[in-house]
Amino acid sequence: MTETAMTQTPKSRFQNFDFKTAGPAIALILLCIIGFLLNPAFLSEGNITNLLTRSAFIGIIAVGATFVITAGGIDLSVGSMAAVIAGVMIIVMNGAVDTFGTGVTTVLIGCGCSVILGIGAGFINGFLTTKGKIEAFIVTLGTMGIFRSLVTYFADGGTLSLNYDIRGVYRPVYYDSFAGLPIPVWVFIVVAICGWLLLNRTAFGRYCTAIGSNESVARYSAIQVDRIKTWTYVLQGLCVSLATIIYVPRLGSASSSTGVLWELEAIAAVIIGGTVLKGGYGRIGGTILGALILTTIGNILNFTDMISNYLNGTMQGLIIIVAVWLQRGDWGRKHKNN
């Protein structure tokens, strides 16, 4: 037991070079080289910013998921949550046009609504998991279904479209750039830095890790386990709401197919990044690399005819399995002995 638990944490086995920590970075660099060899346009500025922007949604959600998973939980509802938040945001903004016009105020109301919904939905997940004492997997499987059906209901089975004039005001949030980088990338960067500080430099981050590592020890160490766990879900909800705020202006619409499978991509990004699925060890930096890796695969497939774009899921699936296989401690040991 101790043995397996130990091997989960990366250790410098080879002087200061830590393969397991550096793994995701190496993988991303390899992917970029492959992409460049297949088509030099891969490394063009346009493609890079496009890639970063697309990574932002999954990346921001995955930062939240890193906290949930590090504290030993799981949140399957994030994709549906994003969809329902997008739907309600559009309804609220369309409704606010009469009172507040089509200006910035309406957009801000929409954003505020998104944040409140995200935090509220996260709180529900956290509350049911901790106070309700229901497994996180079950709770979020349930809310996943609920959120998904709600957005279908709000859209009456079709698509909710944002008022055309508001779309004009809101558009820059997705399409404009600041200092050469698109706004979503900036949001991603800020979320990532805050997430890193929170996980690695605050008592909250330490508590998340402790709870995921051993909940009994955490309880006996005067940690308010239920409160901290609930906070991780609230944080996850907040991240989803931020991702939704930058996602809505991209298409200006929401439907039952919005955000489908985002939860799996977010969890995949977290796992590829080296966070341990059963909790106790989390890496924000790894998560960000994981999100970039997932997007890069899709991007490369777009650039080449060698593999059909329809096999995107296959490639992502393979990467996830290989990543986790590489993180297994005994692989490194065996390798070293050889």
Binding site: M6, R201, T202, R206, S216, V217, R219, Y220, I223
Partner: protein, 508 residues
């Protein structure tokens, strides 16, 4: 020792068994024999070697030297529970049942009766029902284990053993977790098994029970065989006397005279909580108060309730003379009341983390500056703790799970001391650690008390409680049966209170 006749009749016999783990000897030439249709009690203090002997008799350990005879034939018992096939079954204290499965499924687990590849449930149910009727147990084969009481689960274990045609049943403290009524029922069934000619080895700390149920009694102390006698020839006092009888050495630090006028920092009045039935005591400033009693007598439960780890159902807790009910561990910690768990690996330390993270986890709010954890302060605290508690590790970056038990225990002590408590409660301070570290821990406890911290030491090791405490409270079945001080603190007295032979009706 057994004469020729008993050897002939004994089912299982251990002759001059010695056992060492590595270089540490734990059994010294111990002999014991069990006859068919006999209940043979094995008694001794914790650490006397009873468990090791039982494990050797059931094949889980191999003796370093000595012989095992079965039906007079010398043999090597097969390991890993395979002795069950020979009819020797060990029932562990932690029962070994699949909670979510039914009684019938558990009894036949691993050797299900099948009929052309399909489970023959009806036949299995009939067989199990037969056994249940036999021992007069009022449950159905289809009942789920998780729905049964502990006593019933214990009986299911026995049925399981019977269905394997057990001839020797070895039971490790079967009554430790049973209520009095359940124990009565249990004994009735033991009597039936006896009539059927089953040989039963019964390990217990409850001397009255031993006297009541057993035919013969074997006493062990410090890994040595002390005596085997007819139970009818032994008085309870004589048993206690034989179990005890060790001189206290300078393993323990000199105890400073207790200041009887010191303030009472903690006063508990008629406390009720899960497994606690009306407990009252007080704790003075700078005093070491020992808590003795059998495992499961409610010692841990009292302090888990006081420290906010379990709900308080009734009674009063006064801290510094003012009512205090800590609803969470963090509130207790902030007030200066800390509990150091006996379950070092399960509840005490994060085994896959470094020492520093473990050290500061309990008092982490103290290390927060401007919203973030002050890593320099943490490093300094680590240095201090290593010096003060002599924590030794090959490498400061080692995972805590790789430290020795003694160093883990020191780190755990350092961890709770990090928040400068006023009341320190240590549960089993030296469980599973070597004697050198034990001595260090005892000196730390004395030093901490000398600084004015009040210390509660909960321990199942009597010499330890006696060696470090100013006063000793003895618990039995959720109640304090006596609080001893001065010359009254000795093993004989404690055993009598713990076993329920003596009881203070009115203590202060």
């Amino acid at each position: 020792m057994p004469d020729g006749q008993t050897i002939a009749a004994s089912v299982l016999c251990a002759e001059r068994i010695s056992k060492s783990f590595g270089t540490v000897p734990v059994l010294f030439s111990v002999s014991m024999d069990i006859k068919a249709g006999e209940v043979h009690a094995l008694i001794g203090e914790n650490g006397a070697g009873k468990s090791t002997l039982m494990k050797i008799l059931s094949g889980f350990h191999q003796p370093t030297s000595g012989r095992i005879l079965m039906d007079g034939q010398e043999m090597t018992l097969p390991p890993n529970g395979e002795t069950e096939k020979l009819g020797v079954v060990l029932i562990h204290q932690e029962l070994n049942l699949a909670e979510q499965m039914t009684v019938e499924e558990n009894v036949f687990l691993g050797r299900e009766i099948t009929n052309r590849g399909r489970l023959d449930r009806q036949q299995m149910a009939e067989v199990v029902q037969g056994y249940l009727d036999d021992i007069g147990l009022n449950i159905a084969p289809g009942d789920r284990i998780s729905d049964l009481s502990i006593a019933q689960k214990q009986m299911v274990e026995i049925v399981k053993a019977m269905s394997r045609d057990a001839r020797v049943l070895i039971m490790d403290e079967p009554t430790a977790t049973l209520t009095e009524a359940e124990t009565k029922l249990f004994f009735k069934q033991i009597a039936r098994l006896k009539e059927q000619g089953v040989a039963i080895i019964f390990v217990s700390h409850k001397l009255t029970e031993v006297k009541e149920i057993s035919d013969r009694v074997t006493v062990m102390r410090d890994g040595q065989w002390i005596a085997t006698q007819e139970a009818s020839d032994l008085t309870l006092d004589a048993m206690a006397q034989m179990m005890v009888g060790r001189e206290l050495s300078d393993l323990y630090p000199p105890i400073n005279e207790a200041d009887v006028d010191a303030d009472r920092v903690l006063e508990v009045k008629n406390l009720y909580a899960p497994d606690v039935e009306g407990v009252s005591f007080y704790l003075r400033k700078g005093e070491v108060l020992g808590f003795s009693g059998l495992i499961g007598s409610g010692r841990t439960a009292v302090f888990e309730a006081i420290c906010g780890l379990a709900p308080i159902d009734g009674g009063e807790v006064l801290f510094d003379g003012a009512p205090a009910e800590f609803t969470s561990v963090s509130k207790a910690r902030d007030a200066g009341v800390v509990y150091l768990t006996k379950d070092r690996k399960g509840k005490g330390l994060l085994l896959d983390k470094k020492m520093r993270e473990n050290l500061t986890l309990f008092a982490l709010p103290k290390f927060v500056r401007n919203g973030s954890v002050d890593r320099k302060a943490e490093a300094k605290a680590m240095e201090r703790a290593v010096r003060r508690f002599d924590i030794r590790s090959r490498d400061a970056n080692i995972d805590v799970g790789d430290l020795s038990g003694g160093n883990q225990q020191k780190l755990l002590l350092a961890k709770v001391m990090e928040c400068d408590p006023r009341i320190l409660i240590i549960d089993e301070p030296t469980r599973g650690i070597d004697v050198g570290t034990k001595q260090q821990i005892y000196h730390f406890i004395a030093a901490i008390a000398a600084e004015g911290v009040s210390v509660v030491v909960i321990s199942s090791e009597m010499p330890e409680v006696i060696g470090v405490s100013h006063r000793v409270a003895v618990m039995r079945e959720g109640q304090i049966t006596g609080i001893l001080s001065g010359d009254h603190i000795n093993e004989n007295e404690i055993v009598r209170y713990a076993a329920g032979l003596k009881r203070e009706t009115n203590h202060d």
